[in-house]
Amino acid sequence: MLAKVAVMGQFPGFSRWVCAAEHVHESSQPRPSSYHPQFFTAAEYATIDELSELIIPADESPGAREAGVAEFIDFMTASDSEIQYPFRTGLTTLDASAIQKYGSSFVNLREAQQIELLSSMTNDDFFKLIREYTVMGYYTSRIGLEELNYPGLRIYSQSPACPHKGDPEHKHLPPPRF
């Protein structure tokens, strides 16, 4: 297990997850040192973290923050020069617009203000970019795959068959769970 954690710890988004797993077993341990962004400044990184959690928030299941999405975005941005300018400019524009409208930078707004501001920009390229990378980071994390109950990469003894015998059109399924 330790070896596995060590290996996974090298990959983006995992310092948090590994910590979370450790906390389950050793809750008396202090929270380990925080992640040092490779590309973003501390302020930019905090905004990315805030944005990702607004896009995929914790509800009955953990959200983007718990899944380490900001770390993933920082890693991907650090290694891809094509998205560095759009991310940086987008973040600065977001803060400018937050200050213009509410007198404070984005992370310092109340949640209702953040949501209002974000709702006004859903057609912007920056919103599409941060949403895309949040989805990428979240649904490729263990937390995100558990959220969907991803059924692949498991071992099945026979090819999985539809469990709804006698209802080929699937008109009489149990009520939706979600």
Partner: protein, 553 residues
């Protein structure tokens, strides 16, 4: 030191070459096989069981890989396996995308596994509708070879009694998933067949190979060897026979000829040293895949063969056909909204197929000739790529991604192009690869007949979705780029007339009696079916014919 003369030199170790090696070695021939790249190590090279979070870039690949990727399979999972160094060029007006695997086993390491037999309707297509030529073989003649291949590799399906789809000898089929039963209901209403695919996937242990465990990541390579590949099924046996010498990183350059213009061997480049070597044999089998095989013949110029070996007809490289691929419809099934996830993607989604249903009774019933097939796909996949059709953000966005997870469906058409003078391969007069071998140049355009199939397919799939109670979300704006299917055929066609065809009905070249072709380049045209099982069947037949000729010599 006297030069060693092997019985047969085989170029290529994919489906065609692998079958030739397997057959010839078992019959006692001394074989030297040349393979253009390395052997794969399943433990290192197949990352199919890794979760995305175990991959550095979560399976998306490094930015550099994403920029240079040559298609959806050239990703972080199978990085380092696809060929990037052997260049090809395209003529003005042509677009061609191409994922070539030069590793031992070629594309059988990653193939899609759909394995339908060709039929008499395919072999006699020209007689039925008047276009182009019939195949020089009958279904009856080939059927026993298909049966033997099915027994060797294991194909799962059912008996379906379709006129264009002869039934074979099958393992139990893959089971239908929820999406299949719903689409099947819709298909019945609009009169489209919706059936278990013929799939070379071991639904139970077969011929010493373990059964599939249905993990779903087949196109990244199978670590248990539960679908056919030549390194998993054919090459170990051939090596055990003591009759095979396999030379890796040996890139075939040209066929050598003797003073009579017969094949004497093969010149190849060792990719590690960039040195040229020669290897000699009593016969040569070319199975480098359709375009590469044509390139080798066209690059084999001598005083006997000024236009390339075995090319007195001038047909080598001509008649290139391909499958048009593309998403004819996308949608989702509201019936499954909010239902628990289900392992839908158990075989990378070739569980079901919609085999050709057009122009069967009357070959001229539609506005196009011949016909196409469609592969349905969908359900719970790994990554929720449908997220971009859901607006907004926050709890509702997250909930809707989860609600939709079991519901996405799409259709992928497989439509054959027809033979055309516009589509061919020649040798680029200026460009050489890094080993100094002149590059293949591809000339290709979609023909109107194929695009009529595309239009027809879009309508049929939209109708099917509506009849299934699905929400229709549109089709791809255009088909995938030519070359996507990796089903090139026709560059060294077989036929009885030496003036019009490169090989005879056994895949032996008309001009050079000891030169044989064992890949899809001999197929006179492209059908609605995939090519691998037919490459195997025709290669088996050609190899046995070659063996008989060797014995008599």
């Amino acid at each position: 030191m006297p030069k060693e003369i092997y019985d047969v030199i085989v170029i290529g170790t994919g489906a065609g070459g692998g079958m030739a090696i397997h057959t010839l070695c078992a019959a006692g021939a001394k074989v030297c096989a040349l393979n253009g790249s390395r052997r794969l190590d399943p433990k290192k090279d197949f990352r199919n069981h890794k979760q995305p979070y175990d991959m550095k870039y979560r399976g998306f690949g490094s930015p550099e890989l994403r920029k240079t990727s040559i298609g959806y399979m050239d990703n972080e999972y199978s990085q380092g396996i696809w060929e990037h160094d052997i260049v090809f060029t395209t003529a003005p007006g042509t677009q061609w995308t191409w994922r070539r695997c030069f590793a031992v086993g070629g594309k059988t390491n990653f193939w899609g596994r759909s394995s339908a037999r060709f039929s008499e309707i395919d072999f006699r297509a020209a007689s039925r509708d008047g276009y182009d030529v019939d195949w020089p073989v009958s279904y009856e003649e080939i059927a026993p070879y298909y049966s033997r291949v099915e027994r060797m590799i294991g194909v799962a399906s059912t008996v379906q009694n379709r006129p264009s789809n002869p039934d074979g000898e099958y393992l139990p089929p893959m089971n239908f998933r929820c999406i299949d039963w719903i689409l099947h209901s819709g298909a019945q209403k609009v009169g489209i067949p919706y059936l278990p695919d013929r799939i070379a996937q071991l639904t139970q242990a077969h011929a010493g190979h373990p059964g599939c465990h249905f993990c779903g990541n087949c196109t990244e390579g199978c670590d248990t060897g539960s679908f056919f590949s030549t390194p998993g099924f054919f090459l170990p046996e051939a090596e055990k026979s003591g009759n095979l010498e396999l030379r890796t990183n040996a890139l075939a350059k040209n066929i050598l000829v003797d003073q009579n213009g017969r094949a004497a061997g093969v010149a190849y480049i060792d990719r590690n040293t960039k040195q040229e070597y020669e290897v000699y044999g009593k016969a040569v089998v070319v199975a480098a895949s359709c375009v590469e095989s044509a390139r080798i013949l066209l690059n084999s110029k001598s005083r006997h063969w000024p236009n390339g070996i075995a090319n007195s007809s001038g047909q080598a490289g001509r008649n290139l056909c391909d499958h048009l691929y593309g998403t004819t419809a996308r949608g989702y099934l509201p019936q499954l909204l909010g239902q628990p996830s289900f392992p839908d993607n158990v075989s990378d989604s070739t569980v079901a197929w919609m085999p050709r249903w057009q122009n069967l009774d009357n070959p001229r019933q539609e506005k196009f000739i011949r016909g196409y097939s469609v592969y349905p796909d969908g359900g719970c996949a790994g990554y929720p790529s449908y997220y971009d059709s859901i607006p907004g953000f926050g709890r509702e966005f997250k909930r809707e991604i989860k609600r939709r997870y079991p519901t996405p469906v799409d259709f992928y058409i497989q439509a054959p192009t027809q033979r055309s003078d516009a589509n061919f391969v020649d040798i680029d007069p200026e460009v050489k690869d890094i080993y100094g071998i002149p590059a293949a140049r591809i000339h290709f355009e979609w023909d109107r007949n194929t695009l009529l199939m595309w239009e027809h397919g879009k309508q049929a799939c939209e109708d099917l979705l509506h009849a299934s109670g699905a929400e229709y979300l549109g089709a791809a704006k255009e088909p995938d780029m030519p070359g996507t299917s990796l089903h090139e055929t026709g560059t060294l066609r077989m036929g009885n007339d030496p003036k019009k065809f490169v090989t005879n009905r056994f895949g032996q070249t008309h001009d050079v009696a000891n030169l044989y072709i064992c890949d899809a380049s001999v197929f006179p045209n492209c059908t609605d079916k995939t090519t691998t099982i037919s490459i195997l069947a025709f290669s088996l037949r050609t190899s046995e014919y070659l063996m008989e000729n060797l014995r008599q010599a």
